[in-house]
Amino acid sequence: MLQFINVSKRYPGGSDALKNVNFELKKGEMAFLTGHSGAGKSTLLKLIAILERSTQGQVMLDNQNIGRISQRNVPYARRKIGMIFQDHRLLHDHTVFDNVALPLIIAGLDRHEVQRRVRAALDKVGLLGKEQRYPITLSGGEQQRIGIARAVVNRPPMILADEPTGNLDPALSEEIMQLFEQFNQVGVTVLIASHDISLIERMGYRTLQLSQGEMVSNHG
């Protein structure tokens, strides 16, 4: 599903954010990405989201070298990834429903299909009945669930989460992680960047560890 082949990223100014990174995530696999801040985690995620392009090497998503696709095709490649952020990145002047529906509206689905899928996604994250609320009126954990519902609503083959539990207490973090496990169980590839070592160890999935731009450990 996702493959990094000799990937390096150097930002203008000379600092090497990633050095010769190699790894592969198989279809339906779930893994954690760890490392101290500055280790290159966010750069790696940005390469997958095509927010940055690699200086060297190939980033393959679904057998496509996304580091080299044209700007015109970037949006379509992004639709294969459901992205979840630490700060949720919700539209605060839109309802929960509108937030979750956004990827579907972008894809041009008709109204009934949008309604059906948004309800299904909200049901999965346990927010059914709160469609017409505004994100700001919900708790941090609930806001993160809106973000997750938005990420999975168009059923992407891969989920990418950047510190999804960063602002949540352990109990809520556990619930969020269980959600990711559920998606993984139906075949979705999941990559979660986190520095919550205890949680990662408890869950016992494969862990990719970055340090100063290099992949120092890559085991399950």
Partner: protein
């Protein structure tokens, strides 16, 4: 799972006209809805555009009115026939009579050279100088008013040439020189309006660009988020292009309203002035075709202005 995934892809890759139109319709009205949440800012921009565009369109209406006014003066233009010195009063009277029967002539009036001299002596102040002249230097003059249907220059000039053929007539004078000069001035004014239109068109472009730029900054997060969940460039640009459309559309319409309101306000005094000149002249409003063209012009400025800013902004974000 694999087949389900393909289902997800389909609507995006297949050109679904109905969904496409629905998106457009949705954006069209939601952009209007956004304005209703900040009506003051919106109306301020629309007013600036309207006032800016009302200047060139108002000038154009003024020029059109002056042109039609000069056309009306054409109609009332008299032709003076200066007869040969040798023509007698009797003959001149006969000639006037025959001219009065001419179907191109509404009225012919003879100005007797004796009377003209008396009048000249009385009013000019050259009385004693004229007394020293042995004979009357003035010829008989016949003043002709052409019929109303002779309302263009070419027809009038044809009549003038016809009259020139007559042996008793020495000089035919139709004083249109000042009309030519007026038309010359109007041509210059028209050129000036074209230049002003171009300059103020740029001004409108900049006004829209600047407004959209502020809107872009306010909605930076929204743009980032929609980009992250896979929005195409067109999807992100669309609402801003529609904003530009609304600015241009309403700005253009208000400009036309402003101009016609001004015409209406000036029309009263103009009519009373023209009655003093025995003329039924009244100001014409902006023709509908002009109004439509101005609104279309304004709409295209709005769309182009927003398009430039948004595509520049998105290009900066892309890598």
């Amino acid at each position: 799972m694999a087949s389900r995934r393909q289902n997800v892809q389909r609507p995006a890759s297949l050109f679904n006209l109905r969904a496409y139109l629905l998106i457009h319709l949705h954006t069209f009205f939601s952009s209007l809805g956004r304005f209703s949440r900040a009506p003051f800012n919106f109306m301020m921009t629309v007013s600036v555009i309207a006032i800016t565009l009302s200047l060139p369109s108002g000038l154009l209406v003024s020029i059109n009115n002056l042109q039609s006014l000069s056309g009306q003066i054409d109609l009332n233009n008299n032709i003076s026939l200066f007869l040969n010195q040798t023509v007698s009063l009797e003959h001149a009277t006969k000639l006037t009579g025959s001219l009065n029967t001419d179907e191109q002539v509404a009225q012919a009036v003879l100005i007797n050279k004796q009377e003209a001299l008396e009048e000249f002596r009385q009013y000019s102040g050259f009385g004693s100088a004229i007394s020293t002249l042995g004979s009357n230097p003035l010829p008989h003059v016949i003043q002709i008013t052409p019929i109303a249907s002779l309302n263009n220059r070419a027809a009038l000039e044809l009549l003038v040439n016809e009259l020139k053929q007559q042996p008793d007539i020495q000089l035919v004078q139709m004083d249109m020189g000042w009309l030519d000069r007026l038309n010359g001035i109007l041509n210059i004014a028209q050129r000036g309006v074209s230049i002003i239109t171009i300059l103020l068109g740029f001004a409108v472009l900049l006004i829209v660009s600047n407004t959209i730029r502020l809107e872009l900054q306010n909605r930076r997060d929204e743009i980032d988020i929609t980009r992250l969940v896979g929005a195409t460039r067109a999807f992100i640009m669309r609402p801003f292009i529609y904003s530009g459309f609304w600015y241009g559309f309403l700005g253009g319409i208000f400009a036309c309203i402003l101009v016609n309101l001004s015409v209406w306000l000036i029309d009263g005094p103009t009519s009373s002035l023209s009655t003093l000149y025995n003329s039924a002249f009244s100001l014409a409003f902006m023709p509908l075709t002009h109004a439509i063209l101005w609104v279309l012009f304004s709409i295209s400025l709005g769309i182009i202005g927003s398009w430039i800013v948004v595509s520049r902004y998105l290009s900066e974000l892309e890598n």
